[in-house]
Subunit: 399 residues, 4 copies
């Protein structure tokens, strides 16, 4: 006799992200199901529901949210619709899961956060990339001390540009590549440096190099955290060669490199006989291709939804909360501002996190001098580079 | 109101494979659950049940099989216990899932197959490695024609040797590295060349190079299939550096390389601060390490159990049946015999599959000669290597 | 009867770089030879000369420079000795090859440049990393248009810190990781964006995160070039795991990734039996190691010296001139200033290069709207994202 | 005043290998020069000489060999011309360098060897692939004990087939892919297991799977050496995706993986704008490409010729002698015979090497039982797998 809980989901939005979310929920021995889909278009709603075996679809968002069977609403709509829609979910008292980014600005995200917290409903922030199996394993290693104190996180997401029109419209999206991709990278960096590590300030470059749009199609920015660690964010809508989704982490005792998408141990050369879908945002279907095994698993969707529903069942917070989404928005605000002012800009955030200690320096001494570096020579002797703490004079000695 | 089916499982065996199986079933939003564990040791049974939140455990295999809540029995016991145990599962009329290899010999596997088919119960062969996401994607590409006709499959599994004593005892296991690892590799090769592609004969080398045991600790063998394709199987219990689990496939129009475990896009360097479990059969915990993200997913366990339970629910055969397990055993018989007789040995199998066409040769002609090769020169001209079909004379011409 | 020219070299400096340079010159069928070595220490000079089969050594730099057999002087001395030493080489009228960086500041580099140009001697800037075979092949591809217009170059050099004391002393070196490693990365970026592409301004972060020194041990900076392309420079003296020497280039039509040192197709796992020198700056001698085949070739030394001596013989400029060294210094000046002022700083350079066109945007139109993106749908139809040039409205259409 | 020796070379043959050899000799600061080229075709000889700046060319092989300036003759001709041509070089008393394979059979190779040894001239076997920088570094590691005793060498060379017509004609070549590519792989294996390790017997599969020719286009064979080590040779003329040139070595204490050509740290994606030559045997010029930096260096040509000329100058044997070429031919004879007889065939060689000890087994004992495996458990305890030397009973114990 089964006593398993199974959540019934309203999926708002039937674009690419709706497909990914529903594929995840309905794949393998999927326990939780989408029971109603909302699309502004009757045609797309019907096609979506047929594709995924969803019993009902509607063009009325209120009907979807208030569907009596539904206990959880997934907001997979364009950014400019988040605030209004979430208000309705809060009013309905349903569990809320929101796609990234939470809002178009920190202020909008804060408004959303306040609404949800006032209503007392469950709120989960669907930042999938911190849930990838590789990221989860890496975070566990970092927490276990495998790489010492984190000094630097590079998070990079680059591809030839998004599929839907509204992403390219900065009025609806809130920006360009920074808003679309930067939110992923920022949250990856926050997870690695530690969520109690306050983001202090941001220095950004952004430009529109290739596409005929108003928003930036490339940006690079540095986030300086309280510990001194740096998050290096690289986003691009003009990358050629597929989807470049890589993270690198350096620490005082080690380093991590993650490639999520392009070099994952599966390589296929074809002269071009079969024109199938190889992977999200692949650019060619002949030559050397690098497919991903289980895309929704590798991109973190599977573990993300597991965490969300487990959190609802257990009455606990999920790993990624709406507050996290809000912090991400404030960092993007600072990045977009810095790209204009051309100087470091502070992150203006209502901080709830703790404080983080500075990156450790454990001074070692040799005859009253600080050891800068200790090196093993081929002949077995040790060479020390020494710094005189009073004069700053640098010398070396072989022991 | 949930109408999900959820299977209740008896797990026979609490060794490493029992851990992997149960971890898989109970992970993420696991719908199917282990409700009773059987171990010959009360102590190990108790620890196992506590580790995985299993309500009951027993040292009586009959009690586990006949537990009234149980509808499915997983046999994760040493090879020499398969035949007897499966007889009991068949008598109880429960669904049967058996770990690899099915038997110690083709004859034993046939006996098991007959028992299960007579009883009319569901039988699934738990060959996880053909279910890895990378393998599944690759098989789909091959079926879609991406690499043309398959000519060669290399399947390699190598590590420093198994964890439990009985593996090393050829009387209990039925052999050494061939039986332990060869069964995986053979079934990978069969999937890529097509299961209707009859294995004709085997040529094998096997030797005990390093370990003080009677069974082989290294073997290499070639399986020739009806189409002309070759399966190249490499197994070793003396590999240093972790678990080397790679497949390569060549076809007339392409090639595939799969690395399941050592180079999958996650790389970690550590000076050694954290002594955690990195991955199955990793040999070090400092220096450059190559952890796997989600081990049970990457090794195919997740998709394997999904297929098994979906097959039970749908009343269809799973992707891997006990008949497949039997074919694998007959190929291993031929390999072990060939290692003794030092010549090709036929595969003696009661064949139920179909027939496979030979690897395609599409002859192209130029002025009455067969085109051996067509090459594009840097200056844009084409160079043809030609074979005179009557004289066998080889010439070239530039067009 | 041989008519080969063979240059006779004075090697000033017997540190690690002197070893690399001499190893290169004397390796394989080395045609050009070091005939005298200068070291401040009699002991190190003697050991060096014995190591490399050099006939003479001296502790007097003037004697080395003015050695009558010598036609070419290699300056491999600490940065603070470049200016004075180069004055002597100029006075002697010998061919001059100088290790990187040219000076400690742009002003010092300019002074050196002026001295050399006044003397009319040959001057070569020994920036090896733009001469690596991979870089040379990549530059040829870029010039041939393989990746379109370059938009971004990431050049990264990171390791646990230099071997000699003087590098750590910013008074002698002129700075820390920026001066030591940034000069390489900047010149790599300049080569990829084109040397006629003027560096306009720099935004930098630099910090001393780990080592007990005054100079920066980590820095990241962006160089904006006239075309709009960005050079992203990452340097670190606190990296763990060996020497991380990678470049990435993105263009409007392609992308390049180069790994010079850590993942080059040679992988070795060892339980630690042999304690040999594996590669420059490797950190361990057990576990997975990634040696480099021919270090001096992979690091560009071989092709660099070939170009230098061929240039001397042919009376032409080498690929890397002292002017290039000067430009690099001015960019580092801007980086170090920006790290202080926390805003973009202009590059103050006496520019001799040409001008570079902006990154191309080739507008495509569809019914009066600009095509933002063209995407092939799985069903073979094309989806266009369109931008109304008057209203900025973004729409899509499927054809 | 230069006292450098510089060899003057006659290049016999102006095909692809003649190009590679001459490119190598004339590249960088090349000290040794080709002074005369021989081609059967006046036109090809002239084009070749112009391409490489060679002063003279001829269609008379005797004129080339006896050219008075020439001290060294490189035989880069089709296999069926080796014996006759080498007789002429021996008669002329010149230094001889011969491309691979030495002969078409062991008998022919022996005849060549006898002629050269009788004449007392220098003879070098131009097996480039054992001279690649990666191979040289790896061989040094193996000799230093880094991987313990070698148990297995996989050497693989696979590409879509050779460029010249005569390769495809087994009468002229002496066979197909085995003769063309197997000779490389065999000598790689011999170098790793040690040249004193006598090849005992060979088991081979060969087939013509794709091309319309009489010779084999695919083969796999195992060479068993005296120590028990296995050389696993894989050759193919039907590989798609470029040139697959990889070696793997396993030992009792480690493992080595070498990728010479396809994954060497240089990756380029292009939409196809520039149609240049990317690398030997690359198949596409768009999509992801994997060029090689310095092809003649990576393929070993540079270090091979350095060794040859240094050996001549020093009056010592080169690393690869004609005797090595002869041994390789005898192993290929056994392979081709085994492919016919379908059983192991002995290697019939006039052995001059020494003897090799068996792969080491260092037995460890625990309370009278042999330790099969020692494993560290997560809780820090050790688990031993034990073998009772009298009964063969396998047990385990946790300490």
């Amino acid at each position: 006799m089964s006593t398993l809980t199974s959540h019934k989901v309203a999926m708002l939005g039937t674009g690419l992200i709706g497909d990914f979310y529903t594929m995840t929920l309905h794949s393998q021995r999927g326990r939780d199901r989408v029971v109603v889909a909302y699309s502004r278009s009757e045609e797309r709603g019907r096609a979506f529901s047929e594709r995924w075996g969803i019993p009902r679809h509607t063009t009325c968002v209120d009907d979807a949210i208030n569907d009596p069977e539904v206990d959880t609403v997934v907001v997979g709509l364009p950014n400019d619709l988040h605030l209004e829609t979430i208000g309705k979910v809060a009013a309905a008292g349903k569990n809320l899961l929101v796609t990234k980014p939470l809002g178009r600005t920190g202020a909008e995200a804060k408004e959303i956060l306040d609404i949800v917290e006032s209503a007392g409903i469950f709120g989960g922030y669907l930042e999938d990339l911190v849930y990838t199996p590789k990221t989860t394993v890496s975070l566990a290693s970092v927490k276990a001390g495998a790489i010492g104190d984190v000094t630097w996180v590079r998070a990079r997401e680059a591809h030839p540009g998004p599929h839907s029109a509204w992403f390219w419209d900065s009025k609806r999206a809130g920006g360009g590549a920074v808003i679309d991709l930067g939110c992923h990278c920022i949250e990856i960096a926050r997870n690695f440096v530690g969520k109690d590590n306050r983001p202090i300030e941001v220095m950004a470059w952004a430009d529109t190099l290739v596409h005929p749009i108003a928003a930036e199609d490339n940006a690079i920015f540095l986030v300086r955290f309280e510990s001194g660690a740096i998050g290096q964010i690289e986003v691009s809508w003009t990358f050629r060669g597929g989807m470049d989704l890589r993270d690198e982490v350096s620490g005082t005792e080690g380093t991590i490199r993650i490639d999520h998408f392009l070099r994952t141990g599966l390589e296929l050369f074809t002269t071009g006989g079969s024109g199938g879908y190889v992977a999200e945002k692949a650019e060619t279907d002949a030559g050397w291709l690098f497919p991903v095994g289980d895309e929704v698993s590798e991109l973190g969707y599977v573990d993300m939804f597991s965490d969300m529903f487990d959190a609802i069942d257990a009455g606990r917070a999920p790993r990624e909360t709406l507050y996290d989404g809000y912090v991400v928005n404030t960092i993007m605000d600072a990045a977009l501002k810095s790209a204009q002012t051309r100087q470091w800009e502070p992150v203006e955030v209502a901080w709830r996190g703790g404080t983080a200690a500075s990156i450790k320096r454990v001074p070692e001494y040799h005859q009253g001098r600080t050891v800068v570096k200790r090196e093993l020579l081929p002949d077995g002797r040790s060479k020390l580079i020494l710094n005189d703490p009073e004069t700053g004079e640098i010398t070396d000695v072989v022991l």
